[in-house]
Amino acid sequence: MMNEVIQTSLARLQIMKAKALAALRKGENYELRTELNSEYKERRKEAVRRVIANMTVGKDVSGLFTDVLKNMHTDDLEIKKLIYLYLINYAKTQPDLVILAINTFVKDAEDSNPLLRALAIRTMGCLHVQEVLDYLCDPLRKCLADANPYVRKTAVMCVAKVYDLNRAVAEENGFVDAVRGALADSNAMVVANSVSALSEMSAMAGGRGDVWRLDTATVGTLLTAVNECAEWGQIAILEALAEYRPASEREAEGVCERVLARLQHANGSVVLTTVRLLLRYEQYVKRADLLAQFAKKMVPPLITLLASEPEIQYVALRNINLIPQRHPQLLSKEIRAFFCKYNDPIYVKYEKVDVLVRICSGSNVDALLNELKEYAKEVDVDFVRCAVQAIGRLTLRHEAAADKAVDVLVELLQLRADHVVQIAAVVLTRILRRYPRSQFAATVVQALCEHADCIREPDARAALVWALGEYSEHVAGAAGRLSGVADGLVEDDSGVQLALLGAVVKFFLKNPQQGQQLVVRVLKTATEKCANPDVRDRAYIYWRLLSADPAAAKTIALSERPPCRDDVPALPEPLLAELIAELGCVSSVLQKPARQFVYARTDRAGVPRGVAGANDCDDDDDDASAHPAAPGAAAIAADGEPELLIAL
């Protein structure tokens, strides 16, 4: 009885609590409104803070626009800044009401304190409201000519904002000219911001140089300014200089020589932008000794970037990846700097392995193979695949490495760790396809047969079957093994089926006595029972070939095939040049041209073009860039498909 009473009262209490909470939620804006209009200054201040806090977490407080604005005329800097922030977020939604704020802005822009003048100009530019523009012009004109460099550097940036909103206004009022003039400002930071603003406006105008074109005199000013401004300004100036086409060879050399010192800067972006400039200027500088000297100077700072935070390392590595495709030998001595640390994030490890394969030269291939062997013993399955794959790629590039690589891979097979065996088997047969007449063929085939019971995945089994057909003379009982695979033919993966067809035909041609029964059985099953049309077709072709002209069959099936090629993905030259010209940018990190992920805006709100855009971006992915994090992935798939068409 008692319990029941308690239960019901508890339940009632809970309902009441829920109601109260709901009322509170509904009324939060109402309550804030009252507080914003409070007669006490402290309460109004607290209310403004709460409005901003709500705005940050995504609650809609746009309804409080007029109430917030009432507090704008204040002598409290904190409140002022918070209200400006509120305006930046909501001005677009209530453009007609923004006019109420203009007075305060205009007054602030004439304040005696430069901090306040700059704040007003900066914020007005961020409102993105056409209506504000008319009121912005006068204060902006004054601020562009302000005595204080802090105000000037803010004002030149504001011109870019105005230009974005309304080009005509920016040009007719002479603002763009004023920014061009500011390139000669006595203050380096104003110069740097003018460069940023002009580059932005130039890009908005389509980058054709209508807004701004560098000339020899300006380049001189910029080269002086780069020594004087802070790190971010240096980046802006270096980026602009990288875009410049020098008038003469002598000028190009001069620019390179004067920016070389930037390679010593602590900020990685200053370093990388300098490298970008140097690589771009390679087309203008003709003197070989200078080019070699510049290239050599780039190396140590690039290596030092590898000691940065992991995210910076990642971006650095993605960019370093491009450099050996232009300068194959440049980094080859630095191979040890790219060895993976145990605690590197996995995305850094992938990139390091990819770079390692690219920069390795014949002389240090042994050291790298030892290192890759260590990686192949790690626990992360994908990374192990990547490491074994890298051993394969390295071997396809450097014949001298083949013996050692085969030793390493056979040793890995002997570990009998499932994931290692699969990929090692595939890679070993690839090496055989590259060096078919090699002395280690016997070793490889025997090792594969020894661990045949562990070879499980379709790719790996297809590789084994291919090796059995190709090198049946090196193993005892090849017929028995092929026959074993033939037993499960119908259910097998089509890759294995195709491999088996090729293998039994080759085996039969080499050992007509032993192979006859097997080849008939396989061809019969394949043509009658296999569902895959490719497999059936291939089987018919072999069958007719064998019955029509055995001698021709022999020359075709057992002919010497072109060795398989080096499969380290290389970017096509125009794309490579484009990415190197954008070194450090998102495009060179993704290794995709910018047009694939930067869409033209459709409206001011900047809603992306949507799904359609995303799709065609995916479609024209080229292989090299499809999986930035797993360089191995694409090639594994390519491996899996045995090259039986060539085998014919």
């Binding site: 800044k81 290596i303 790690e378 992306p608």
Partner: protein
């Protein structure tokens, strides 16, 4: 350049959202977390650069906070990530720690900082010392409101005028960290020295400093012969206060320092080094037990002594009932790190120390390959630099003409110092004597 910058909690909810260009709707940030997780599932990695629907998300994580920059242009990824790191540093300097709680408590000032540090998506000023001069936690009345310090736009953007100290002093610490990767057989796979010259500057006014090192390139170019050893530094990087063009032309390091603590320069030497502390280990794994023998050797000069030596040896995750015996120092099993740690307060050059460890293993174990982390070594060797770098002089000139004392200290310590473990031998005959 950046369109907006966000600070997010671990679930991806915005703590701070600052829109700089208005060309990406703020709601786009809601896609960040799903995108990151999707990629994590696919590739096992949370890449720092992600793209979707024309928006590029660049991020890094600090404790329980994500710092994210969004852009819809082909902006410089390197610049934006560097900016986020600088933002991280500034916020840490302001609030001692950058974590969710400190951000919630200080969101007002963080918005002020973001407003000052970036304009229209272009980084402006990120020097914490200077920002602290005019963006402070106390609120201001307009009349006494701070003005932007001259330093913000000056050529010397890192130091304000009018600093006064009663006693003018400079402390120089030359710290060399040894990065080393050693194979199970004791062969050095890669090694380098990362040096840093750190300064603590307590000087009045606008002092001009000039630092002289035994820099080989400089000696050669001036035709001077060094008395002792000269060091060839491979890659030198300077704090932005150092006049790079001056260094490029005649290798002098001249600068007006920031006030207080900062890192003047870092350098790298790619020397083939002998491991300063080498650990040779033998591991034997038998049914139900695993045994270790580790021999540590201090391979540096006898007159130096390493202090705070800590050798961390990984063991299987299911190891139990540890037994240890050492000739020097103490050993502790740390199950949560799956390792035992051998500590030696002092380890003199040329000496050797031996450790034996024995662990029980469950008799039934799965055959999955074990993770094989390397042995990690921590140490510090005071009054010693591996490279032999020396400060030859530090000249301090200020127009008021005061005398200032430079103090110099040298120290070598471990950087990323990893020694790979050998595979456990499983032979029936034990080579290790019982403990």
């Amino acid at each position: 350049m950046a369109s907006s910058v966000f600070l997010l909690d671990l679930k991806g909810k915005p703590l701070i959202a600052r829109d700089y260009r208005g060309d990406i709707p703020l709601a786009a940030i809601d896609r960040f977390m799903p995108l990151l997780q999707e990629r994590e599932d696919e590739e096992g990695t949370g890449l720092p650069v992600l793209t979707e629907n024309g928006v590029t998300y660049l991020h890094l994580r600090e404790k329980d906070v994500y710092l994210v920059a969004l852009t819809r242009k082909n902006a410089s990824a390197m610049t934006l990530l560097q900016f986020l790191h600088h933002l991280c540093k500034v916020l840490t300097e302001y609030f001692n720690a950058l974590e969710e709680e400190s951000i919630r408590d200080n969101f007002v000032i963080i918005y002020e900082l973001l407003d000052e540090m970036m304009d229209y998506g272009v980084p402006q000023i990120t020097e914490p010392k200077i920002l602290q001069e005019y963006i402070t936690q106390e609120s201001h009345i307009l009349e006494i409101m701070p003005r932007p310090p001259l330093a913000v736009t000056n050529a010397v953007s890192w130091r304000s005028e009018g600093i006064v100290y009663r006693k003018n002093e400079v402390f120089l610490d030359v710290v060399e960290s040894i990065n080393m990767l050693v194979s199970p057989t004791g062969a050095v796979l890669s090694s380098d020295i990362r040096g840093a010259i750190k300064m603590k500057v307590y000087l009045s006014g606008m002092p001009e400093l000039r630092l002289g090192l035994n820099d080989k390139v400089m000696f050669e170019s001036t035709g001077r012969t060094a008395k002792g050893k000269a060091v060839e530094m491979e890659d030198i990087r300077f704090h932005q206060c150092v006049r790079l063009s001056k260094f490029e032309s005649d290798r002098t390091i001249s600068f007006i320092p920031p006030d207080g603590e900062f890192e003047l320069m870092t350098y790298r030497l790619n020397a083939q080094l002998k491991p300063l502390i080498l650990c040779e280990s033998v591991v034997e794994s038998h049914r139900g037990r695993i045994e270790y023998m580790v021999k540590a050797k201090a391979q540096f000069k006898q007159r130096s002594t390493a202090s705070g030596v800590e050798i961390t040896v990984p063991v299987p995750s299911d190891a139990d009932s540890p037994k240890f015996k050492t000739t020097v120092g103490s050993v502790k099993y740390v199950p949560e790190r799956q390792a035992f740690v051998w500590k030696m307060k002092q380890f003199q050059g040329g000496k050797e120390a031996l450790l034996r460890a024995h662990f029980g293993l469950p008799s039934i174990r799965d055959d999955d390959p074990e993770r094989r982390p390397p042995i990690a070594v921590k140490f510090e060797i005071p009054y010693f630099t591996t490279s032999g770098i020396q400060v030859r002089y530090l000249k301090i000139v200020e127009k008021s003409g005061y005398q200032a004392l430079p103090w110099v200290r040298y120290i070598t310590k471990n950087g990323d110092y990893q020694l790979r473990m050998p595979d456990p031998s499983t032979s029936a005959t034990s080579r290790l004597p019982p403990i």
